[in-house]
C-alpha cells in the first residue's frame, strides 16, 4: 500500500515532462499545478467544480483540477493549456479561432474552455452545436454569452479584418496572451510561498464584537506573522467611491453591518493560512437585530445603520418635467404595476486577488481592478501616505462588470505588506467574494403610465426603492441615474420619477452594468407592452410612435440636435418582429402539448459617462528613438476590449495600424489617468482622449518636417518616414533628444464630456451622449412545468460607429447572457446562495443564437461618431423576455427572476381564473 506521508513525493507527466512533487495529503491538483509547478495557466474560480476554470486533461479526460487530490495524478498524464498550445494540433488551431471570433474576452475561463474543447475534438473532430454544449457545459463564462466560443469551436468562418483602423473587426491586441494562458491575473503574480492574508468576517448580518488577546494568539502560532485590525490603519478607516458618501470601513469597528464584513485579517505562511479556521480567531460575537430589506429598514424603531442618514435613507434622486399627475388624469388609458428584483451577483470567474510589496519605501499593489486611479486615491486616504508613495499596478482582470470599481483586497494587501515588511498576497474564496463585494441593487418599483388613443404617452409616474445594503458604494449613482433613465428612450413630456437608496444589513449594493437602469427598465418596458395592448396598438409601433428623436427633449429637458438612434433601433426590429410573431402564432396554433412560444421586444438607453460630473480621461503616447510607438493605455480592459478599441482609435488618428503599437497598461507610475472602466465611458471618453492624443502626435510629426495633413507615416528602424505629395521625409529618431522615458515625440490627449448639473427637478444636461438599444426575444414556455427556454434574440444597438464590430457583437452577446440570467435564474440571497452551485448563472446550454444588428447613428461628441455600449446591452434583455413570456402565456410576471416555481404558480392562477 502506498502511504503518502507529508513529505512523500509522487511523479506524473505534466505537459510531456515527468515532474516530481511532494504535495500535502489531499492537496488539490489545481494548487499543486499553480503553486508547486508554476503552471498558472490553470485558473481557480470556485474551488468547488462549479466553474470549470481549472479544467485540465488527465489521461485525456477533462477534469476539474480543484476536485482532484494531487495524489490521484500519480503516474498519470496531465495536460494543461500551456502544454497543449505548444504541442496539440487542436489547441493550436483553437487559439487562432478563439482570437478570430473574440471568443476570449477577459480570458479567465479561456484555459478551461480550450482544454475542454481539445478533449472534445480529439474524440470528435466535427462536433455539432449540441455536442459542443455538452462538452463545454462545465465551464462558466460571464463575459461572452458563449456564442463566440461556440462559433470558434465549430470553426464558423470569422469576418476578421486585421488592418487595424477604426471600423475594422480587428483581433483583440491582447488576445494571444489570453488564449495561451499567459495573461497574468490577480492571483498569478505572487511567487509561490508568499505570505498570505486571510480576512476574518462577520458571520451575522449585524453583530457587535470584541477581540481577545490578538498579540498573544498570533504569537503562539508558528508562521502566523501578523494580525491586522483597525489599529494598523494610519489614515482613515473609511473608503467609498463617491467622496461625499464615503462610509465603508476597511475593518468594522464595534459593530459589523453585514454578513461577511471584515473585522480583522491574519497574515501567515501558506501552510498556516491553509489551516486557519475563522472559529479559532479570538473574537466574540453578539448578534444584533438586523434589517434585510427596505420595508424592515424603514419600519418604526428599525436599527439605524448610519447616524446621519435618518430612516436609513441614504439619498434620493428626482427628475420632474411637465405635470405627470394632470397628464395621467387626461390619458385615455393608464396602466400601473409594482415590480421587484433581487440582489444580482456579478459572478466574474476571477475572484478578487492580488499581491503587494514595499519597494524602496513605496507600497506597490498589483491587483485586479477597474479603476487604478480610484484605488490610489482610496489607498492614500486609508494608509495616510502621500500619493507618490503608492503604486497601483493593475494585473489582468478576470471580469468586473462594476464590482471591481470598489476597492476590496487592496487595503489588506497594503497593510499586510507594511506590517510584515514582506510581500503578501490574497485571493478571495468564491464565498468571500460573493459575501463581501458589491451586488446589483434589489428594487421595488411602482409605476403608472398613461397614453392617448393615438398612442402618444400621457403621464409617467415612477417611484423606486433600491436596497443599497450596508454602505453607500455606488448607491447614490443608482439613485440619480434611475430617474434620468426610467423613461426609457422615449419622449415623455409629463414625467416624474423618484428613486430612493435605502440602507439595510445586506452586502453593499453598488455598480453592476447599468446602475439600476436594468431594474427600472423592466417596469417601464413591461408596462409599455401592457399599455399598447390596452389601447390596441402593436407594441413595437407604440414604441416607435413615442421614441425619442433629434430635437425632442428628454425627461431632463436635454435636447440632442443629432445622434439619437432610438427609433432606428426599434425600426430595425420590424422584420424580425413580424416574422417571429407569425412563426410563434403558427407554432401555438399547432401545439397540442404544453409548449407556448412567445415573442417580446424592449428598448433601452444609457447615458455614457458620469452623470453631470467631470470624468476626464487622458491618453499619452510616445515614439521611442527606435521608432516604436508606445500607447499608455490606462482605460482598464476588463474583457470588454478597451486595449484594442482605444488602440484602434489612437492609431487611426495618428495614421497607422493599431497592430503597430506597443502598449503600456494602467500602472499609476507611468500611465495617466484614463478614468474608471464604468458608465460605458471608455470608448467614448478615453476614445476621444486617444483620438486627441493621436492627432496631437500626428501634428507634431507633420510639423517637424513641415508637410501637409495628407502625409502618410511609417515608423520603424529608428526613423519615421513621412510621405507627402510624392516627397519622402525621413526623421532620424536616433539623433533626437529623448526625454526621461526615452521618447523622441510625446503626445497627450485629454477629454471630458460636456455636461451641465441637474437642477432640483433633475433638469439639465446629464450626459453628452446616450447609446440606444432595442432587443427582441423569442422564448418557449412549458406551461406544465413553468420553465422558460429562450430560443433566439435579435439585438439592435446604436453604437454611433462600431470601432470594432467583432467586439460590439461580443458585448451584445455577453450583456444579453447577463440580462437573461437576471430575468430567469439569478438571485443572491445572503447566507444562502454564496457559491456558484446555489447561485446560478447561465451555462453554455442556456444561451440561444443572438443576431446583432449594428446601428450606426453617428454622435457628434463621440470619437469617429462612436457611442458607449457596455451597459446598454443588458437593459432591454430582461423586459424583452418578460414580454415574450406574456405573449406566450398571457401572464405578466412582476418580479425577477422568473423561476419555474414562480411562473408555474402564475400559470395555475390563470387556469383558476
Amino acid at each position: 500500500m502506498d502511504v503518502e506521508n507529508l513529505e512523500a513525493s509522487i511523479d506524473f507527466n505534466l505537459n510531456g515532462q515527468i515532474v516530481q512533487v511532494a504535495p500535502v495529503p489531499g492537496e488539490r491538483l489545481s494548487e499543486t499545478l499553480r503553486e508547486r509547478l508554476n503552471t498558472r495557466d490553470v485558473k481557480i474560480g470556485c474551488n468547488a467544480g462549479d466553474c470549470g476554470a481549472c479544467s485540465v486533461l488527465v489521461n485525456g479526460e477533462t477534469i476539474c483540477a480543484c476536485l482532484m487530490p494531487t495524489q490521484q495524478a500519480a503516474g498519470q498524464k496531465v495536460e494543461t493549456l500551456a502544454g497543449l498550445v505548444k504541442s496539440d494540433y487542436h489547441a493550436k488551431a483553437l487559439i487562432e479561432r478563439f482570437q478570430d471570433h473574440g471568443a476570449a474576452q477577459c480570458g479567465i475561463c479561456t484555459p478551461g474552455m480550450i482544454v475542454s474543447t481539445v478533449a472534445l475534438l480529439r474524440a470528435n473532430p466535427k462536433p455539432n452545436e449540441q455536442q459542443v454544449k455538452d462538452a463545454l457545459c462545465g465551464v462558466l463564462c460571464r463575459c461572452t454569452g458563449y456564442r463566440k466560443i461556440i462559433d470558434a469551436v465549430l470553426a464558423v468562418p470569422a469576418s476578421i479584418d486585421n488592418s487595424g483602423g477604426v471600423g475594422r473587426a480587428l483581433r483583440r491586441l491582447d488576445g494571444i496572451d489570453k488564449v495561451t494562458g499567459v495573461e497574468v491575473f490577480g492571483d498569478d503574480i505572487a511567487p509561490a510561498g508568499t505570505l498570505e492574508v486571510r480576512v476574518v468576517r462577520s458571520p451575522y448580518p449585524r453583530a457587535s464584537f470584541v477581540f481577545g488577546d490578538l498579540d498573544a494568539w498570533c504569537e503562539q502560532i508558528t508562521g502566523m506573522e501578523a494580525v491586522l485590525t483597525v489599529a494598523d490603519i494610519e489614515g482613515e478607516n473609511c473608503f467609498g467611491v463617491i467622496p461625499e458618501f464615503a462610509d465603508q470601513p476597511v475593518f468594522a469597528e464595534e459593530v459589523a453591518r453585514f454578513r461577511g464584513e471584515a473585522v480583522a485579517a491574519v497574515v501567515g505562511t501558506p501552510e498556516v493560512i491553509r489551516a486557519f479556521q475563522p472559529d479559532d480567531f479570538p473574537v466574540t460575537w453578539t448578534e444584533l437585530e438586523s434589517v434585510a430589506n427596505v420595508a424592515e429598514a424603514q419600519a418604526k424603531g428599525a436599527p439605524q445603520l448610519h447616524p446621519t442618514r435618518a430612516e436609513n435613507l441614504m439619498c434620493r434622486g428626482i427628475v420632474r418635467s411637465g405635470n405627470a399627475e394632470a397628464a395621467l388624469a387626461a390619458a385615455d388609458e393608464t396602466v400601473e404595476g409594482a415590480f421587484s428584483s433581487g440582489f444580482v451577483e456579478h459572478g466574474y470567474i476571477e475572484p478578487e486577488a492580488g499581491f503587494a510589496e514595499v519597494v524602496n519605501g513605496r507600497v506597490e499593489i498589483h491587483a485586479c481592478t477597474q479603476s487604478p486611479m480610484m484605488d490610489l486615491i482610496s489607498m492614500e486616504i486609508i494608509l495616510g501616505m502621500n500619493r507618490s508613495e503608492i503604486r497601483i499596478a493593475p494585473t489582468g482582470v478576470g471580469g468586473g462588470f462594476g464590482s471591481k470599481l470598489d476597492i476590496s483586497i487592496q487595503p489588506y494587501l497594503a497593510l499586510g505588506a507594511i506590517k510584515t515588511g514582506r510581500p503578501v498576497r490574497i485571493t478571495y474564496s468564491r464565498t468571500e467574494s460573493m459575501q463581501s463585494t458589491t451586488k446589483r441593487h434589489p428594487s421595488e418599483i411602482t409605476l403608472k403610465i398613461g397614453a392617448k388613443k393615438n398612442g402618444c404617452l400621457s403621464g409617467f409616474s415612477f417611484f423606486g426603492d433600491f436596497n443599497t445594503g450596508a454602505y453607500a458604494s455606488w448607491g447614490p449613482t443608482v439613485a440619480n441615474r434611475v430617474p434620468v433613465h426610467a423613461s426609457g428612450p422615449y419622449s415623455i413630456p409629463d414625467y416624474t420619477a423618484v428613486a430612493n437608496g435605502v440602507h439595510t444589513n445586506c452586502p453593499p449594493a453598488g455598480a453592476f452594468r447599468g446602475f439600476g437602469v436594468p431594474q427600472s427598465g423592466i417596469a417601464q418596458e413591461c408596462l409599455f407592452d401592457d399599455l399598447a395592448d390596452k389601447i390596441g396598438i402593436d407594441p413595437l409601433e407604440f414604441r416607435i410612435i413615442n421614441a425619442l428623436g433629434d430635437g425632442i427633449p428628454t425627461v431632463c429637458g436635454q435636447v440632442f440636435e443629432q445622434g439619437v438612434g432610438s427609433k432606428a433601433c426599434l425600426e430595425a426590429l420590424r422584420p424580425a418582429w413580424a416574422k417571429e410573431r407569425k412563426e410563434a402564432d403558427a407554432f401555438n396554433a399547432a401545439s397540442t402539448g404544453s409548449l407556448r412560444r412567445g415573442v417580446g421586444v424592449a428598448a433601452g438607453w444609457y447615458g455614457c459617462g458620469n452623470t453631470s460630473l467631470p470624468n476626464p480621461s487622458t491618453i499619452k503616447a510616445g515614439v521611442r528613438t527606435d521608432g516604436t510607438v508606445v500607447l499608455h493605455q490606462g482605460a482598464m480592459d476588463i474583457g470588454q476590449g478597451s486595449n484594442t478599441v482605444i488602440s484602434q482609435i489612437f492609431a487611426t488618428a495618428l495614421g497607422i495600424s493599431a497592430t503597430e503599437l506597443d502598449r503600456i497598461g494602467g500602472d499609476t507610475d507611468v500611465t495617466p489617468d484614463a478614468g474608471k472602466t464604468s458608465a460605458s465611458r471608455q470608448t467614448f471618453v478615453s476614445g476621444n482622449a486617444a483620438r486627441l492624443s493621436g492627432e496631437d502626435m500626428r501634428a507634431k510629426i507633420l510639423r517637424h518636417v513641415n508637410v501637409s495633413d495628407d502625409a502618410t507615416l511609417a515608423f520603424g528602424d529608428g526613423a519615421i518616414t513621412v510621405s507627402d505629395n510624392g516627397k519622402v521625409h525621413n526623421i532620424d529618431l536616433t539623433i533626437m533628444q529623448a526625454d526621461d522615458e526615452g521618447y523622441a515625440f510625446v503626445s497627450r490627449g485629454t477629454y471630458d464630456p460636456p455636461t451641465k448639473p441637474l437642477d432640483e427637478n433633475g433638469q439639465g444636461i446629464p450626459y453628452a451622449q446616450f447609446g440606444y438599444a432595442a432587443q427582441l426575444a423569442v422564448i418557449e414556455v412549458d406551461e406544465a412545468l413553468g420553465t422558460t427556454k429562450p430560443i433566439k434574440f435579435v439585438a439592435a444597438h446604436d453604437v454611433g460607429k462600431a470601432i470594432n464590430p467583432m467586439l460590439v457583437e461580443g458585448q451584445v452577446q455577453g450583456g444579453i447572457a447577463q440580462g437573461l440570467g437576471m430575468a430567469l435564474m439569478e438571485e443572491y440571497l445572503p447566507g444562502r446562495t454564496e457559491n456558484l452551485h446555489d447561485y446560478l448563472i447561465p451555462t453554455i446550454g442556456d444561451i440561444p443564437p443572438i443576431e446583432t444588428l449594428i446601428i450606426e447613428v453617428p454622435d457628434g461628441h463621440g470619437p469617429y461618431g462612436a457611442k458607449g455600449l457596455g451597459e446598454h446591452v443588458l437593459i432591454p434583455t430582461a423586459p424583452a423576455l418578460l414580454n415574450a413570456i406574456k405573449y406566450a402565456t398571457g401572464i405578466r410576471v412582476h418580479s425577477v427572476p422568473v423561476t419555474p416555481s414562480k411562473l408555474r404558480q402564475a400559470i395555475k392562477g390563470r387556469e383558476n381564473d
Binding site: 512523500a8 474551488n47 462545465g138 451555462t843
Partner: protein
C-alpha cells in the same frame, strides 16, 4: 495525516479497522464540503483498488464497482433498463464531474438531490458493504437513511452496487428538472423503468428524487399504472389517490414544496412516455 491509496480490498479493510479515515474516490463532493481551514486527518482513496472500477455482468445481474465514474456508466454496454441511469449520468454536474464523480460516492453523499439514486432505486439496486469482518448487502433504499445519513459503520466501506437481473425488454428513462441547462441541482427528478406487452404496461417502477429526504419509489402509483395502455398515458390522471403520498418535499431556493408536488405528475407522465418509447 496520511493519504492512502490501497490497491486491494484487504489493505483498505485493515486500515479501516484501526483508523477512521475519510473515504474518497472522485472527490467531487469531498472538496466542496470542506470548510475554510478544514483538513482531514486521514484520507483513504479507494479509486485504485483492483476491481473497484467498472461495470460487470454477474450470474444474477450486474455489479458496479464503487469507484466507477459516471462516464464509465455512460460508456458501458448495458441493456435498455439502464438508459435511465445513463441519462442521469449525463445530467450529473458537468462532463468534468461525470469524469471524476463516482456512483458510490453519489450514494454515500446522501443528498436528497443525488442524480443517480432514483434510477438505481428503480433498478432495485443493492449496496455491497465490505469490511475485514466480511461483506453484507443492503437495499439502496435502506442504505440511505436520511439527508447525509447512510448505513455504514466504522470499519466499513462501500465495495460495489449490485443490480439484479432485469428482463431485456425493460426500457427506461430519466427526467431532471432544474433552473438551468447544466451544472444544476435538480428541483425534482424522476426515473422510470417499464415493460410493455401488447401496448400495455406490465411492469412499472417509478422513483422520484429531490422531493423527500431520500429518493422514493412510488408503489401506489406503480400499482395504479399496471396494465395501463401506453397510448393512454397522455391522459392518465396522476393526481388520483395517494400516488404521491410518499413525497415530503420542502421549499428551498430551487422551488417551493407546492411547486414540486405540482409538477411531479407531469414529470412522471413524460418520463413514462419516454421510457415506453424505448421499447
Amino acid at each position: 495525516m496520511p493519504y492512502l491509496t490501497p490497491t486491494n480490498h484487504e489493505e483498505a479493510f485493515s486500515f479501516l479497522e484501526n483508523n477512521n479515515p475519510r473515504i474518497v474516490a472522485g472527490c467531487t463532493d469531498y472538496f466542496p464540503s470542506l470548510r475554510q481551514g478544514q483538513i482531514h486527518d486521514d484520507l483513504l482513496d479507494v479509486s485504485r483498488i483492483n476491481g473497484m472500477r467498472g461495470v460487470t455482468k454477474t450470474d444474477t445481474g450486474w455489479r458496479i464497482g464503487a469507484a466507477t465514474t459516471w462516464t464509465d456508466i455512460v460508456r458501458a454496454a448495458l441493456p435498455p433498463a439502464f438508459d435511465a441511469l445513463k441519462q442521469a449520468a449525463l445530467e450529473v454536474g458537468s462532463l468534468q464531474i461525470q469524469n471524476q464523480g463516482t456512483v458510490a460516492g453519489n450514494i454515500c453523499n446522501a443528498s436528497p438531490a443525488a442524480d443517480g439514486v432514483p434510477p438505481l432505486m428503480a433498478l432495485g439496486a443493492e449496496v455491497e458493504v465490505g469490511s475485514s469482518e466480511g461483506s453484507r448487502r443492503v437495499a439502496l433504499s435502506d442504505f440511505i437513511k436520511g439527508v447525509r445519513r447512510i448505513d455504514l459503520n466504522p470499519g466499513e466501506m462501500v465495495v460495489a452496487i449490485h443490480i439484479p437481473d432485469i428482463p431485456t425488454m425493460s426500457t427506461s428513462a430519466f427526467y431532471k428538472l432544474g433552473s438551468r441547462k447544466h451544472l444544476v441541482i435538480s428541483i425534482a427528478m424522476v426515473a422510470a423503468i417499464v415493460q410493455v406487452k401488447a401496448g400495455r404496461l406490465t411492469d412499472v417502477r417509478i422513483a422520484l428524487g429531490s422531493c423527500s429526504p431520500v429518493a422514493r419509489r412510488l408503489p401506489g402509483l406503480e400499482a395504479q399504472l399496471m396494465d395501463e395502455g401506453v397510448a393512454d398515458l397522455e391522459y392518465f390522471d396522476f393526481g388520483i389517490g395517494d400516488a404521491f403520498a410518499p413525497l415530503t418535499p420542502i421549499s428551498d431556493i430551487r422551488g417551493s414544496a407546492e411547486y414540486r408536488l405540482d409538477v411531479v405528475s407531469e414529470m412522471c407522465r413524460r418520463v413514462l412516455i419516454a421510457a415506453c418509447k424505448g421499447s
